[in-house]
């Protein structure tokens, strides 16, 4: 068991309970999707687990260690990372530099002020390797802001992977993409998962994507988990069907 959440609660503005006593766990190597209608609390849950927000109540354990009080930077060091729903890259830096940044920290070069970054072979090699894996190596010297939306989403994942996480939360990785781009990015995610690069937990709205890649699906509604199981189990769950307002939203 990689990560465990116990009775997480998060309240906004005094009266809106975004996450209501959520308890769950994530096992290594199990590709999990988190789905639910808008406003169900999916992004809030990711925020709580990755450190963007602190829970009001509840505990989070990672590899047996209690982490709910840790800030983002410390959680990243322990092996937790995430990508963002709204693309969150370093726009004025090149793709190469975007990937270098997390690698600098991972390889503990962060306080080196006199060495030449360009001549650091370890970092250079690994940067090129990651760029190759996400299919963006030809564009390595372009500014990140010059990429298309789909390419930027690929870069998002690349930056997160460069932190060498054990668990990686992807918040709507295919958001805003066309079918071809979606297929491409999910192929990469599945490949990374199979290679054991990280345990992926994906928040998604696209049911085709969810049902084709997930080994486990968690369904959130109103800040609570209303279903949790294999794709087959979720597909047949009547409460889930009801919540999604109409069975035609399910692909069979």
């Amino acid at each position: 068991m990689l990560m465990r959440a116990e009775n997480l609660c998060k309240r906004f503005g005094g009266d809106f309970l975004a996450i209501d006593r959520v308890s769950t766990q994530f096992d290594k190597g199990v590709l999990t999707s988190i789905i639910g209608p808008n406003g169900a609390g999916k992004t809030t849950l990711i925020n709580l687990l990755s450190g963007s927000l602190s829970p009001d109540l509840g505990k989070i354990y990672f590899n047996g260690e209690s982490i709910e009080h840790l800030p983002i930077e410390k959680r990243v060091k322990k092996g937790i990372c995430r990508s963002f729903q709204i693309t969150n890259i370093f726009p004025e830096l090149t793709l190469f530099q975007n990937i270098q940044i997390p690698l600098i920290y991972y390889h503990r070069r962060n306080l080196q002020i006199f060495t030449k970054l360009d001549q650091d072979e370890t970092i250079t090699e690994e940067t090129l390797q990651i760029l190759e894996e996400i299919g963006l190596i030809e564009k390595k010297d372009l500014k990140a802001s010059a990429l298309s939306h789909g390419e930027q989403r690929q870069l998002e994942i690349g930056i997160a992977l460069a932190t060498h996480p054990q668990i990686l939360f992807l918040d709507e990785p295919t958001q805003g993409m066309n079918k071809v781009e979606k297929a491409s990015i999910m192929q990469n995610v599945v490949r990374f998962a199979n290679e054991g690069k990280a345990t992926f937990v994906i928040v998604e709205h696209d049911m085709d994507v969810v049902f084709s890649v997930s080994q486990r699906i968690i369904v959130l509604h109103g800040g609570r988990i209303i279903a949790d199981g294999t794709p087959e189990e979720i597909r047949n769950d009547s409460l889930v069907r009801k919540v999604y307002l109409g069975e035609d939203l399910w692909t069979s």
Partner: protein, 328 residues
């Protein structure tokens, strides 16, 4: 921090680093042969430009590289100048020691001030730096017994180099300033090209994302603030021995506005920007003063024209010229 960005600017349009090195060598060469003209005035102007270049570069580490706009940067310039001056008057005549010690004092001051300022960002950060800048200015003119207050700290010597060479003659002091500034600029350059240098640019670009790369943003801002303060103080020390006098107004907000103007005119986004800006700024200031009493007004108008006409700074346009006309 996006107003100055030109949409068509791409990294592959910059000058190659070899061409940049050549340009730097040419500029350094020009400065090096200046004393040939045996003009005290030219030497003095050359030093003013060099010192301003270092001051503005230290400022741009904060603005261009980390995205922090400081309105109180001259405070560290002043602290460095006063510290170096006082050390030369009371403790030692070894100039290198005094100037470096002055810079260290400035750096420590920046560490203390920065600790409070980096807790906030953007406008709040800028306002805090302005407030602390003015605080230091007030300390300088109130602490009469130490700084001489408004009567200024006068009689700052130029001391000796390694106990042997008397640096009082302007020609000799010129070379000292040139070499110290060149070394300092090289060190700053190496920092910007280091892993740490990329991380601070990442902080500028996306402080939220870089936390997910493991970077403790506030801490790094403090490191940068301290480094910038150190180099600002180094420039101040060189200035103190050049003018042989230090006034409290060197620490005030008007003085802090100078590196801001210099950097904007020269170009925030390039390393050479503040250097180019210093040349432009000081030459224009000298030129304008000769023609009119209303030099501030004329100067202001010229600056506005430069800022509007040369978006991205003068150095950006020079770079474009080189990138387009010569084969890559």
């Amino acid at each position: 921090m996006t107003e100055q960005r030109s949409q068509t600017w791409r990294p592959n349009e910059t000058m190659s680093s070899r061409r940049q090195t050549v340009l730097v060598i040419i500029v350094f060469g020009l400065f090096a042969i200046l004393p040939v003209f045996r003009s005290d005035y030219l030497n003095y102007m050359g030093m003013r430009i060099a010192i301003m270049a270092l001051f503005a570069l230290s400022f741009n580490i904060l603005l261009g590289y980390t995205g922090l706009l400081s309105f109180g940067h001259a405070a560290f310039y002043g602290v460095g100048g006063y510290a170096s001056g006082l050390i030369l008057i009371h403790l030692t005549s070894e100039l290198i020691l005094a100037i470096v010690a002055g810079a260290v004092v400035a750096g420590l001051t920046a560490l203390l001030v920065g600790y409070f300022c980096v807790k906030r960002t953007r406008i709040y950060f800028s306002m805090l730096t302005l407030a602390f800048g003015m605080l230091i200015y007030v300390v300088c003119y109130k602490w009469k017994s130490l700084t001489g207050g408004t009567e200024s700290l006068g009689g700052i010597p130029r001391g000796k180099l390694l106990g042997l060479v008397d640096l009082f003659p302007l020609g000799r002091y010129y070379f000292f300033v040139l070499i110290v500034v060149a070394l300092a600029i090289y060190v700053i350059y190496r920092i910007t090209k280091s892993p740490f240098g990329l991380l601070i640019q990442g902080i500028r670009d996306n402080e939220n994302r870089i936390r997910f790369a493991g970077v403790m943003v506030k801490r790094y801002r403090l490191y940068v603030f301290t480094i910038a303060g150190f180099f600002s103080g180094l420039a101040g020390g060189l200035y103190a021995s050049l003018e042989s006098t230090m006034f409290p107004t060197i620490c005030d907000w008007q003085s802090s506005a100078e590196p801001i103007m210099v950097t904007l005119v020269g170009g925030v986004e390039s390393f050479l920007g503040p250097i180019v800006g210093s040349v432009v700024f000081i030459l224009i200031k000298e030129f304008v003063v000769r023609f009119t009493q209303q030099w501030l007004l004329v100067f202001g108008i010229i600056l506005i024209i430069l800022l509007i006409g040369f978006r991205g700074g003068v150095s950006r346009h020079i770079e474009r010229l080189f990138a387009r006309n010569l084969p890559a």
